[in-house]
């Protein structure tokens, strides 16, 4: 017997207003997370605590600033290649190449041997430029087999992450580790090479933030460069066409290989900056084994790029949401609403609901009641 109702999924002719979907998806995601947490804890985790944590999480821009900025830069970098349907999963490797060269410049390079040779500003510009070059180079290496052998870039960029991790591991375990106590980490990088986070002292009150003005400026510059590249340059245009119809490019006589190389290299170059930001802004050293210490911005950045629906302008919004959710997780723990495992369930269930709803927002579900013939 045929079921009398059938379900039909159709593409929306007129898309919903853009803001409706993210807001709704987030709200439903939070609701789902609250229900799941309430369920798994047998009523121990109060919905109110969760809501308070989320509220605080979103309203503490001074605490999530660092995560927000670094995730935004990764997101922008990934977007450049994703626009061309080149899936750069190698953000981690590109980040660690940037981090590696930063540590080298400030601790082990000829520049580092002669303190005072370069001022703090020149020093920072030097390692930033080198991080861009090395991040780009690392992505370029993955782009070669993609362009010339037509090998899938996903496994290649992914494997390059591990190569990068292990190169850094070898350095940190070997020639770079601090000698005094023998711990497997590099010495702390000199303070004048740090991206300092802002601390405000007034009338005995101390207000520390994770915001580095320099990194914020870098984000804005990166954002403008990427926007200009994608919107006003031929390379940007070709990358976008590559994403939609590579045959069109080929038939118009454009060197597709070159565009693939450019898309991945530019992507990696932008992400390389995050490595410099990560070392100079947060950790101030590298410690072994890096694959376990990594904040994994290279992977989380993929989520940021996806949640932005590959719209540049939405990348910071997505980065803010994710940074806020992680921050909400810390608040939940402090409030005693649950440990790290609960926080992971919380962030995971919000993000999966959110992602699913965003993806289906272009479609609508229609039920059709069939009439029997007779």
């Amino acid at each position: 017997m045929e079921f009398p109702i059938s379900m039909l999924i159709v593409r929306r002719v007129k898309p919903l207003p853009y803001w409706v979907v993210p807001v709704l998806a987030l709200a439903i995601g939070i609701l789902v997370a609250i229900i799941i947490l309430y369920g798994i804890s047998g009523g121990q985790i109060s919905p109110w605590d969760v809501l308070v944590s989320i509220g605080q999480g979103f309203l503490q821009p001074h605490l999530l600033a660092m995560t927000f900025i670094l995730l935004s830069i990764v997101g922008v970098g990934l977007l450049v290649s994703f626009k061309g349907a080149i899936w750069n999963i190698g953000g981690e490797g590109q980040i660690y190449m940037g981090a590696m060269i930063t540590v080298w410049v400030v601790l082990f390079s000829p520049i580092a041997m002669m303190p005072g040779l370069l001022g703090a500003f020149t020093m920072k510009i030097t390692y930033l430029i080198l991080a861009v070059i090395l991040g780009g180079f690392w992505a370029f290496l993955s782009a070669l087999p993609r362009a010339f052998l037509n090998l899938d870039e996903v496994p290649i960029t992914l494997m390059m992450n591990y190569i990068a991790y292990y190169i850094v591991d070898i350095l940190v375990r070997g020639p770079w580790h601090e000698r005094k106590y023998g711990y497997l980490r590099t010495p702390t990088i000199p303070e004048n090479s740090w991206f300092r986070t802002m601390v405000i002292r007034s009338n005995g009150h101390i207000f520390a933030t994770t915001l580095s003005i320099e990194l914020l400026i870098i984000l804005i510059v990166v954002f403008i460069v990427a926007w200009f590249l994608l919107k006003y340059t031929t390379i940007g245009l070709y990358i976008k066409v590559l994403g939609n119809n590579p045959n069109l490019l080929r038939s118009s006589g454009i060197n597709v290989k070159l565009i693939i190389l450019l898309a991945l290299t530019i992507s990696g170059a932008i992400i390389g900056i995050v490595g410099a930001g990560y070392v100079a802004g947060i950790t101030h050293n590298l410690s072994y084994p890096v694959e376990e210490k990594s904040a994994q911005y290279g992977y989380t950045g993929i989520l940021v790029a996806w949640l932005s629906m590959l719209e540049l302008i939405a990348v910071p919004v997505a980065a803010y949401i994710i940074a806020a959710l992680y921050n909400a997780g810390i608040n939940m723990q402090i409030l005693g609403a649950g440990g790290a495992a609960v926080v992971n369930v919380f962030i995971g269930s919000i993000l999966i609901t959110y992602t699913a709803l965003i993806m289906i927002s272009e479609y609508k579900v229609r039920f059709i009641i069939k009439r029997r013939r007779g």
């Binding site: 660092m66 601390v199 405000i200 002292r201 915001l211 084994p289 919004v317 723990q333 402090i334």
Partner: protein, 472 residues
Amino acid sequence: MSKAALWGTVIILLIIVGVGAFYAGMMMSGGQGGGAAGGAGGQGTAQNMTWTPPAKIKAAWIYVGPIGDFGWSYMHDQGRKIVAELYKDWLETTYVESVSEDKLPQTIDNLVSKGYNVIFTTSFEFMDKTIEKGAEYPNIIFFHCSGYKRRPNVGTYFADLYQVYYLNGLIAGALTKTGHIGYVAAYTIPEVVRHINAFSIGAKEVGEQLGKNIKVYVLELGAWFNPDKARASAETLWSQYDVDVLAYTEDSTAILQLAEEKTEAYMNGTADHPLYVFSHYSPGWIYGKHAVVSGQIVHWEVIYEDILAKIKAGIYTPYNLKNVDYWYLLDSGAVDLGAWIFNNGTVMRINPEIAPILKNITVTDKLTGKKMSVYDLVMERYEMMKSAKMSTPLELPAGMHNLIAQKPSIKVDGRTIQIASGFDPFTGPLSGYMKDNPSQKVTVPAGKRLNHDDLWSMQWFVDWVTYLGRGG
């Protein structure tokens, strides 16, 4: 691209820039106006050095791992719960677990903004960040576990297990039949190298007398918590190196469970030797009732109780912690020898199934020349180190720790006053080789006792240790 999203982004960016600019402005004006207020933290604190302990102390613990690891973080959290109950009239506690080094600044900022005034950071890798945050918040008290950097408002503390590993080693030397002893190490950092050596020194002291050629095989994991690798490494040592006694530094119970399987197989006649093991950090007998011989137990609450009482009494302030460095040994009660703690508080020092074996093996005490059973030897040494009460105060201030080795006893009015334990495993003659450069030899002359600084920078293995590299 819709306008709404554009505006959303613009607004967020504006907020951040605005907030930034606002505070930057405040900083600038502060600098122009007072000089001192916006100046260096040191100057700022120098002006208001009077400090009254808060009526309610809000203390927060930050853990590197999950408290469910049943090792390091678990035992710190046990300590937290005990002091929270003891001092509940004036102490409020919370914790944040599984915090990575890069999330530490954000976590500390969050805790301070919620009014927490005492913060314990319980991982070596938190050291630099704790010092940086300590400089930013000169009025908050920080205590960092296992590091060596301090500030006026950042003290350090550590409960050292090397004496207990030595006692475990004595037992291992008696129990091994193959003479091959294993050690699964998280990392070969000085702390763990010290434990490996102490364990090996104990094993050789007893094993040699019994005619065994003691060799200790070390595999490194590259992780503090990695049950799969730990299990695989222990399996390798058991199957490829004929290891029948094992100690380890890792925060899970995986190795205990593996050892129990092997020992049960031996008891059923399906394996040719057992695998005895010493539980690490938390009492682990329940995970291996036939295989767990003894182990190292930590009581962080002993240190937390002391720190918090002294903060409450106004003894510790944010201005005088520069030389506060707990390095607590057996006599302090912060560490102990045992496989299990029963609910009524009694401790199982040595598994009663295995104790009779140890009571039937006779050796000579190298200090006195007396003949006694291995069991009695372990207990005698334990008592010696445990009862060195005059040692405890020297284990608190930085800069005084070395006195323990320099003056283990002094003479007053012709009487010998015992300060530290009459016995320490790290007393020459000892010989070894550098971990990173095995051709470089290290010797400790007869009678020389290694001091705190020697132990904390130890990067050499005694000769009968073989470092096999990374396993798992």
